[in-house]
Amino acid sequence: MAPSPCARCKVNRALILRPKNHQRLCKPCFIATFEAEIHHTITTNNLFQRGERIAIGASGGKDSTVLASVLKTLNERHDYGLELILLSIDEGIKGYRDDSLETVKRNAVQYGMELCIIGYDELYGWTMDQVVEQVGKKGNCTYCGVFRRQALDRGAAKLGVRHVVTGHNADDVAETVLMNLLRGDLPRLSRSTSIITSMPSAIAPPKASGPGTSGVIGKNTNHGITDVRRSKPLKYAYEKEIVLYAHHKNLDYFSTECIYSPEAFRGSARTLIKNLEKIRPSSILDVVRSGEDMARLVPGNEDAKRCEGACKSTRSNLPSAEEEEEGAGGCGTSGRSTGGEMAAMEAKLLHNDVASAQVLETEITLPARPRPRNGQAHDRHAHTPFTNEPPSAATSSGGQRHDRIDDDTTPTTPRPKSPTKKRSTTHTLPHPPKTQKPAQKMGQCARCGYLSSQSICKACVLLEGLNKSRPKLAIDIQLDAAEEAGRC
């Protein structure tokens, strides 16, 4: 094939084929275009305010490394006036996180940014290694996901930072949109497409005791942080281009697989997205846009009313991050639809089902989202074998998604005894209460003060279970935690 010239400068040889528009670009033009587009995303969405301190959720992986590099470049080029900090979460998995944290440390030097590493042990009194020792390799992802979701917010609170940016890219968002579509979960679909979400951590003054015996969660609560915003500046950036940007700019990043779910990245929606991209590269952004369009049609969607600036009222207007957060970062590994992450998501979905059963999401899921019992039950079961189809496109996590589908029936109606029901796993999941409270608002966890739709947040519930099994270790943990505190 004859080399073609760059479509922009018409001089250099094109090396990059852009997935979104088939444009052929040379290396310098690609880098310039990529950065210009992120700048455009930032300015049109008013993501940042001058003088803001921003924590970049950094894993050492490609997405967060590119995010840090691009933000540094743009901050200098366009004089955003931002103070950028790297915030890393250490799940406490030996031989997995160590190398990526080394990468983050190098990045901190390369980009001249402050780095703060916060460990699960410090936040929760448990490392993932300890959790796995306790609960085994199965299901540990649930813990990791729940802990991780809160960890960035808690880390930000600790640093006194009100805004965390994450490396979610277009592929991540498209994947989330598809998963929510497959589940028929429009409210979540609506939230997942938002570029900014708000996590009103609303951290209360420390209560008498924190979760379980260690009380670690309540420890860092005096910062008065009431609102941590989350945004995704790479939301419209293709994963392919992120990797190419990292490659052509010679960025130092680390790729790894979580040792507790080594093959998780083969999962489901991610495969579907990649196959779609292969056939028609624009599909990814098209799915993202479709998600946004559908989100606008969802009753009560916050996007329309969103206050663009960081005005005080954003807190009530922005979609809640707790409700939205998934896709990347649930599980430490690829942050993709990994099996583990799906498990974590399942846990959250279940949690959400409880929430919707209690009519939390007022306008959207109002009293008992009416479900035609028979017909729909039928449908559901008719689809069951489909989603269960193993290897090819929708793979490893099909089973979990399943549970979710089954579970979906529980909040509203006593499940009709269905002869086709074959999955015993459902029984192992806690069923949401059948008695429905009239209306309950998003409140705070009574133990740690974290935003939660239930009186005790998921992390505290999980911790309670863990701590019951080893009360004697609490003192050690406190010591560890004190040591860890010196790390930031």
Partner: protein, 105 residues
Amino acid sequence: MPDTLDITVEFTGGLEMLFSNQRKHAISLPSREEDGNPATIAFLVRYLCQSVMKDRRKELFVLDDTVRPGILVLINDADWELEGEDKYEIQKRDNILFVSTLHGG
């Protein structure tokens, strides 16, 4: 034409895990396929699977006889889609880079 082509093959983005945790491989690739045609990327991929890859999880590298979607291929730093994808005829001293986008941080 020599019997083999000396090329460099690199694996990054997590793919190195499937190739003995080694990023760079110096490969002497037969310059002709079994049927006498010049060696292409498709041939290289088959060769890698048969002769270089010790990991049994071939499907993490190849699916349906082609490089798994989500793995980028760069031929001398250029996207293989600009070079004819797997029909590209390999030249001596080529640098072929396989980058996975599927792994996380």
